[in-house]
Structure formats: structure tokens, C-alpha cells
Symmetry: C2
Subunit: 159 residues, 2 copies
Amino acid sequence: MSTVGFRQHDHAHCVHTALAQAEAKCKAKRLQFTPVRRRVLEILLEKHKAMGAYDILAVLAAEGMGSQPPVVYRALDFLVQHGFVHRIEQLNAYAACAHPTHDHVPAFLICRSCKAVAETETELTQGRLGVAANTSGFQIERVVVEAEGLCPECIGTQA
Amino acid sequence: MSTVGFRQHDHAHCVHTALAQAEAKCKAKRLQFTPVRRRVLEILLEKHKAMGAYDILAVLAAEGMGSQPPVVYRALDFLVQHGFVHRIEQLNAYAACAHPTHDHVPAFLICRSCKAVAETETELTQGRLGVAANTSGFQIERVVVEAEGLCPECIGTQA
DNA sequence: CCTCGAGTGATATGTTATTACATTTCTTGG
DNA sequence: CCAAGAAATGTAATAACATATCACTCGAGG
Ligand SMILES: [Zn+2]
Ligand SMILES: [Zn+2]
Ligand SMILES: [Zn+2]
Ligand SMILES: [Zn+2]
């Protein structure tokens, strides 16, 4: 599993590992890793890209695990809450966390051409934003950092 | 007009000034600063906070300037495109730019309690995100930076 | 066995955004 | 000025994303 997601990797292995890690973490924290929650995470890990809630729901529905929006939104809420999945605000979409082993502030590189999403990390109060927060007395709790542009594959195929 | 929006300022003056600046910039760049576009910007400047597209549309509709969604979305697209307004991804909302005189990468401090939004600036490729982009060959074109937390007014009134 | 709370199933609804096409207005070269 | 093309607008319909609510199930703890 690479830091930025534009390289090859052993995909079947990373799916399996991430699921096992999630299961272990839920056990440790007494969280219910129910079939729907597990399957939603698995779908996101398998696809290995950002998916809309209704895309995930379509997969669930085809498997008879619930066909109504609340099913998937509840599962996503749980997974996001506990750091297994991140929401990509720019895309109204969700992606499995690439660094599930530790707490972190995620940041994303999003290709505007092929929609590939790579996750990296950043600081909660970096650069001028932290300065502005300190100056004004604003208390930062969460930061969304999402860069849009062209991934290595798509540079050259574009204007 | 303050850098971060949690302080007092001469509001009527800042609305007027910003509108005049926008008009001048459009003239210089041969852009059509049409009545709808002007009024949408004015509404955002007057409210001086983030507004949803449909909130703006309701104001327009009450004034007979168009009652269908595309009216306001087209105006917002124009204003965002040319830097007069920014979209706040976390809120699916729009706010007039606080620094319309120069090009910049906006960053926002968003109070989760009172929904106040303050705009500051940042760099296109700051910190680890820039490093990750360079390492992987990703070409950043736009960055969304939005911090959520508590503004000075709301700290203390919360848990 | 009973109760409570988390999770799920199901219906309905709310909110945000886009597509499509007809029409009007503006701009510009002749 | 005038015609042709570009830009903007009017309008209807629909797509995409998200939440409210209530009934039901099931397992843990008393
Ligand atoms: Zn992550
Ligand atoms: Zn790409
Ligand atoms: Zn700005
Ligand atoms: Zn506040």
C-alpha cells in the first residue's frame, strides 16, 4: 500500500490486511463491526477509489444487504467516525483510509481527469492557517485539505 | 474588512467597495457584470456569511430576478470562476471573497457552532501535501483548505 | 424473563445540483 | 447599421446527495 495512491501495489493483500486491522480495532474498542459495516468498508477497499454513497448502495442492494439510503449512510457514518473511511468533500464521495493504523489528518490529491484519489497526511494547523487561527483565537478541531489537479498518468493526455 | 472575519468592521462600506471593485475588474477584463451576477454578489456581501445556493435563490425570487436553480448556479459559477466568491465545500455554500483585490488560495476557518466563516490565505503547495505531490508527480491546480472548529465567540459557550 | 439500547428495515421527504432546450441579449466584423 | 455568432437567461424536468421518523430485531445485563 503506497503513501500516494498512484503506484502499483498488492491489492488483494491490502484489502485483506485492512479488513483484519479494522476488525481488530473494533474488537479492542468494543465497537460492532457488523456485516453491513464490514461489507461497505470492503467495497471501498476493493474499488480502491472514491465512491458516492449511492454507488456503494447499488453494490449492497445487488447483494441483498439493504437497498435504502439510510443503510449505507449509517454504515459510512460509523466508518468515518472511527477513521476507517474518509469523506472527500469536493466529490461528495467516500474512500477507505490508506493509513488506518494510526490517527492522522488526511489530505488528498484528486485527479480531475481520471478521478483517482491519493491520500497523504498533513498537520492540523499548518502554515498560515494555523497563524490565522492563533491570531484570531479560533480553535481548530478538524481540517479538510484536498488538492485538485492532474495525476502522473493524466499529465500529457491533457491540454 | 478584516483578514479573519471575527472582528467588527464598517459593513456598508465594505459592501460598496467590493461591488465597485468587482465592477471595475469586470470592465477591465471585458466580463459581463450582469444584474443577476451583481445582485448575487451583493447578497453575499450583505449577508457577510456563507449562504446556500437555494438561500440566495429565495432572495432573488422574492425580487423577481429568477426563480429556477440554474439562475443562481450560473451566477455563482461566474463569480467563483473569477474569484469574487468562494465555494465552501464542507457547507455546500458560498461566501463573498474577503480579498478580492489579488489572486490567492483561500483557506477558511468555519465555526461549527455559529457557522461563521473567516477567510485567510494559504499556499498552493504547502507542507507535506506539496512534498507528496512532487514525489508522486501530481500537478496541483487548486487546493481546498477548510478548518472546522470554534470561533472566539463560541469558545466557552461549548463543552 | 424483562428491559434497554444499538442496529437495521422501510417509507417518505428534504436539500443540493444538473441537463436540456427555447429564447433573448450582447458583441463584433463587414 | 446589420447580420452572424457568442454569451446569457428563462423554464421545466430530473438527477444526485442526505436526513427524519417509526417500527422491528436482537443481544447484554438485571
Ligand atoms: Zn486516512
Ligand atoms: Zn488521472
Ligand atoms: Zn478570497
Ligand atoms: Zn462561532
